[in-house]
């Protein structure tokens, strides 16, 4: 049960978002500019950073949503979902670019705390071709997910485990982005389950 009374049937951050529309607006604006284009890092790469940090913070809802959105940006195949799972487990062993690996290393340091990022970490990213903008954005995406993850877990929101729910969220988000959406609208994967339970 959530720590405060949140609207029923809305998973993860959606409950607090609907509870507090005045904070939701800047939160959505922030995630929109951070994770959607136009940027030299692709939306899939940005979602991977968000997913990795959320996984390091052990936030089920955020890592599942953003992992699914990343996979959908890559095409949405089982192999894409498998790649995202591997990135969470051990990104160094995945076929992602050396630049992305260096940026994920920075993101992992930010997750532990800002002061963990060293000049050497930044130098390694630069050697693989990362720009100042890309390093800046990596730090801010990682920092922002240290906020989103704490928001979602700090209120003990409902975080279902059914992968179908996250597949639906990933499809929606990869197509629609984050701004101007109706987060009150029930997810089909959840409504379908509830119908079955009631019957």
């Amino acid at each position: 049960m959530a720590h405060i009374q949140l609207p029923a049937g809305l998973p993860g951050i959606r409950g607090p978002m609907v509870f507090s529309p005045e904070t939701t607006k800047p939160l959505c604006d922030l995630v929109q500019v951070l994770l959607t284009g136009p940027h030299t890092l692709t939306p899939a790469e940005r979602e991977m950073i968000a997913t990795y940090v959320s996984s390091q913070n052990d936030c089920v809802y955020c890592q599942s949503c953003h992992g699914s959105t990343a996979a959908q940006h890559l095409g949405g195949s089982d192999a894409d979902y498998a790649l995202i799972a591997q990135i969470k487990q051990n990104y160094q062993a995945t076929p992602i670019s050396a630049k992305m690996k260096a940026l994920l290393a920075i993101a992992g340091k930010v997750q532990q705390g800002g002061k963990y990022v060293t000049a050497k970490d930044v130098e390694q990213a630069r050697q693989q071709g990362a720009t100042d903008e890309e390093i800046h954005d990596t730090v801010l995406i990682a920092a922002a997910f240290c906020m989103f993850n704490r928001y979602v877990d700090g209120l003990a929101t409902w975080q279902p485990r059914d992968p179908e729910i996250y597949r639906e969220i990933g499809k929606q988000t990869s197509q629609l982005g984050y701004v101007g959406r109706d987060y009150k609208k029930p997810l089909q994967a959840i409504a379908a389950k509830q119908d079955r339970v009631e019957v």
Binding site: H3, D58, A119, D132, V139, C146, M147
Partner: protein, 188 residues
């Protein structure tokens, strides 16, 4: 030296904000609504939550910037702000604020650290769902701002007078207006 090339001579978060105006906008809008929007928690209470979390994250710039706003709001009571950072349980603040600071301290360590008992304590001292929500989100947001400031290794001045002046400016003008004005001057 900062990890990326930031405009020179601008302290703390203002450097990355000048570097990236498109992200500065929602970051300032969030601080504005969280710390200054209509709320049953006073701006001073909310700035103390921000200051305490920034202090737990060891972020020099943020704890001094927001500590100065809190002190200004409290009529210049820097002593109280320092006591809150060092040991809020023995500071002269309300039981409700102590319970909310305890929740904020848990959020700083990680969202899952917040327990039903922590929330129940806050509720026993009269905290509403909105106040608990806002405390969690302020604490979470400062886990972001602190990491942004330190993760880029920004410059933090150590002159208390500068933070005092900045605290007054932020309290009077707010996060959106004062930052817009400051950054407009930087870019010129």
């Amino acid at each position: 030296m900062a990890h990326i090339r930031l405009p020179e001579g601008i302290p703390g978060i203002l450097g990355p904000m000048a570097f990236s105006p498109e992200t500065a906008k929602p970051l300032n809008a969030l601080a504005e609504v969280l710390l200054r929007g209509p709320n049953t928690l006073t701006p001073a209470d909310r700035e103390m939550i921000a200051t305490y979390v920034s202090s737990q994250n060891d972020c020099y710039f943020c704890q001094h910037a927001h500590g100065a706003v809190a002190a200004y709001r409290l009529g210049g009571n820097e002593k109280l702000v320092n006591e809150v950072k060092l040991n809020f349980e023995s500071a002269e603040i309300s039981d409700k604020l102590k319970a909310l600071l305890a929740i904020a301290g848990k959020v700083q360590k990680g969202g899952k650290q917040v327990t039903a008992e922590d929330v129940s304590r806050a509720r026993q001292h009269g905290a509403s769902d909105k106040e608990i929500h806002d405390t969690v989100l302020i604490a979470a947001a400062f886990c972001m701002y602190n990491r942004y400031v330190d993760g880029l290794s920004t410059w933090a001045p150590d002159d208390p007078g500068l933070y005092r002046e900045n605290g007054k400016r932020l309290a009077v003008e707010g996060y959106v207006h004062s930052t817009d004005r400051l950054l407009a001057n930087v870019q010129k």
